[in-house]
């Protein structure tokens, strides 16, 4: 439910933002220095870092036959990658 709300806001935002073309300056002008953007997208990244690896772990178990331990380890690794890359991206546009 939480993730659904993040996604809805994000979809609405990008549909709005993309009208009339997109430039780096335009994006950064909106995002730099914004605590609201940082908070929203930071939380969004964390939610993704929880949701995405769980889904992938189930797929690995069901379609690739991985054991629970392998899939959990891979999921944890994925979560870390998503969180780090994502928070770096948020910092990149907000700093």
């Amino acid at each position: 439910m939480v993730l659904a709300q993040f996604v809805l806001v994000h979809l609405a935002t990008i549909i709005y933002a993309v009208r009339g073309g997109l430039s780096g300056g335009e994006i950064l002008a909106r995002t730099q220095g914004s605590w609201a953007i940082a908070a929203f997208y930071g939380a969004f990244v964390i939610a993704c870092a929880v949701h995405v690896p769980l889904g992938l772990a189930r797929i690995a178990e069901e379609w690739l036959g991985w054991s629970g331990r392998c899939s959990n380890a891979a999921a944890a690794a994925c979560a870390l990658v998503i969180a780090l890359l994502g928070l770096r991206a948020v910092y990149a546009v907000v700093a």
């Binding site: 189930r58 178990e61 069901e62 379609w63 629970g68």
Partner: protein, 238 residues
């Protein structure tokens, strides 16, 4: 209707193959009629199960043209493709021979899901009072007509992909008992169905509800179990 049916029937164990037979078509013929004809007239060594032949026992469940059905209630006219028919044993169960599968694991999982009633009253006590219109009783009633035919189990991909998965029938039975206010084994039952091999393995593909010959919806019961298990787990009761 003079044409013959060209019927492919599975022979042997799981590593067997289809054999072909020609069966005369008749009006209102069911797939069970076809199999019976083959065994009586063409192939005496064919093994298959049936009992009531009128759609109340579930013994005759087989895979007909790729879909699990009760053969006594499947009219050939409804499923025939041109003039061909393909009959195989139920999927996801060990094949004993030809069209007969070993149902032991299906019922073992029923027991593992704590699919049996445990009450606290004896004959010396008062009758239990159950409100027929209550939400719990209506939820239980929606699932109690299951006769253990195995069609849902054979139709479920998660049963194929996760050998431990308890399966829709066992979980449906657990759901009917979870909603039975007379039952005293609720915590053990929820623990049994709340694991990775239990309700949480279900991905709502819905093949069970789609194929159940009694129009039971295990999807609903399993969703209910997920809800219940999640709530109890969050409260630390599991």
């Amino acid at each position: 209707m003079n044409r013959n049916l060209k019927v492919k029937v599975w022979r042997g164990g799981a590593d067997g193959d289809f054999s072909k037979y020609e069966v005369p078509r008749q009006a209102s013929q069911t797939v069970l009629d076809v199999i019976t004809y083959i065994q009586r007239r063409l192939e005496p060594s064919l093994s298959y199960r049936f009992s009531c032949r009128v759609g109340v026992c579930g013994s005759c469940a087989m895979t007909v043209n790729g879909i699990a059905r009760w053969t006594c209630r499947t009219h050939v006219a409804k499923v025939v493709e041109g003039d061909t028919l393909e009959v195989a044993p139920l999927s996801n169960l060990p094949v004993i021979k030809d069209l007969a599968t070993d149902m032991a694991e299906f019922f073992d999982k029923w027991a593992r899901a704590k699919g049996s009633f445990r009450g606290s009253k004896t004959r010396h006590d008062e009758f239990a009072r159950v409100e027929p219109g209550s939400l719990e009783r209506m939820a239980a009633n929606a699932g109690i007509e299951c006769i253990g035919c195995g069609v849902c189990y054979a139709s479920c991909d998660l049963v194929s992909w996760r050998p431990d998965y308890l399966g829709p029938a066992a979980l449906n039975r657990a759901w009917t008992l979870v909603n039975d206010i007379r039952d005293t084994g609720q915590i053990e039952r929820l623990r049994a169905v709340a694991g990775d091999a239990g309700c949480h393995a279900c991905h709502t593909q819905g093949s069970c509800s789609e194929r159940c010959p009694k129009a039971i919806e295990p999807t609903a019961g399993i969703s209910g179990l997920k809800r219940l298990a999640a709530r109890r787990a969050m409260r630390g009761e599991l």
